[in-house]
């Protein structure tokens, strides 16, 4: 494997496609194109975090729980998605694709590394941040993809409101980061 990467290391196409990061504009155009593809094939705009809530529900059902009475899953649409199952949800495949694609990209750039955890503080911050983001994304009915990107792309005012408050949150988060991690 090492020899293979040694051989292609200086190839211009390898550098352009795999090693170097794509320019922001290229990324933006690709995201827009795939947003359109997603919307036209699945009938829904792109979303990420809602799928994780469904994964949670399926996991819960797997161990014998039931979310039938939960308000969050009470709409006919949500019930239909849960009924169809894990493997029949387009979102499931899209999220799995994102994870596999990110892994593939990191490996192709020979940038994959299992990192050491630096401190217990980092663990707490990561867990706390993840829980808050997950909770926030569900009560806002979307994350920075579903509510922001897809919202603005649908010409919905809610996307812009989300953007304003996400910006404010990022400022507060940065201040906290400097205070506790520097």
């Amino acid at each position: 494997m090492k020899a293979f990467f040694e051989k292609i290391k200086n190839n211009d196409f390898y550098k352009m496609w795999f090693k170097d990061a794509l320019p922001y504009v290229t990324g933006a155009v690709l995201l827009s194109v795939f947003q359109i593809v997603t919307f036209s094939t699945t009938g829904n705009p792109w979303g990420v975090s809602g799928v994780f809530a469904n994964w949670g529900a399926w996991l819960f059902e797997l161990v014998g729980g039931s979310v039938e009475k939960w308000f969050y899953f009470s709409s006919p649409g949500a019930q239909a998605t849960l009924e169809a199952g894990f493997l029949n949800d387009p979102g499931t495949w899209r999220n799995l694709g994102i994870i596999a694609g990110a892994l593939f990209a990191a490996m192709m750039a020979s940038g994959f590394k299992i990192k050491k955890i630096k401190s217990f503080r980092q663990v707490i911050a990561a867990a706390l941040g993840g829980l808050l983001m997950g909770y926030g994304a569900r009560i806002a009915f979307g994350c920075n993809i579903g509510a922001l990107f897809s919202g603005i792309a649908s010409l919905s005012l809610s996307g812009w409101v989300f953007a304003a408050f996400m910006f404010a949150g990022a400022i507060i988060g940065s201040k906290l980061l400097v205070k506790y991690f520097m």
Binding site: A106, A109, F112, K113, K115, K116, K118, L177
Partner: protein
């Protein structure tokens, strides 16, 4: 005498390596070199980018899979 200082940012995520680099560079004299150790691919991009914009001499070296050393020579 120009000196070399190492800044260990292994295991740190964005934007901590960048903020640490800014602070460490402030303490150095013109002509000194700061070596930032990074294993976060977004820091590998924004640390050299910031330093170049500031007018410093920058070199990025890939030392292992997902590990980089960013050499920043303070120019002003």
């Amino acid at each position: 005498m120009a000196k070399e200082v190492e800044l260990d940012c292994m295991g740190e995520a964005c934007p901590i390596p960048l903020i640490k680099t800014e602070k460490a560079l402030e303490e150095l004299e013109v002509g000194d070199t700061l070596i930032v150790l990074i294993d976060h691919s977004c820091a590998m991009k924004n640390v050299p980018e910031w330093a170049r914009k500031q007018g410093h001499e920058v070199e990025l070296e890939e030392v292992d899979d997902g590990e980089w050393e960013c050499y920043i020579e303070k120019m002003k």
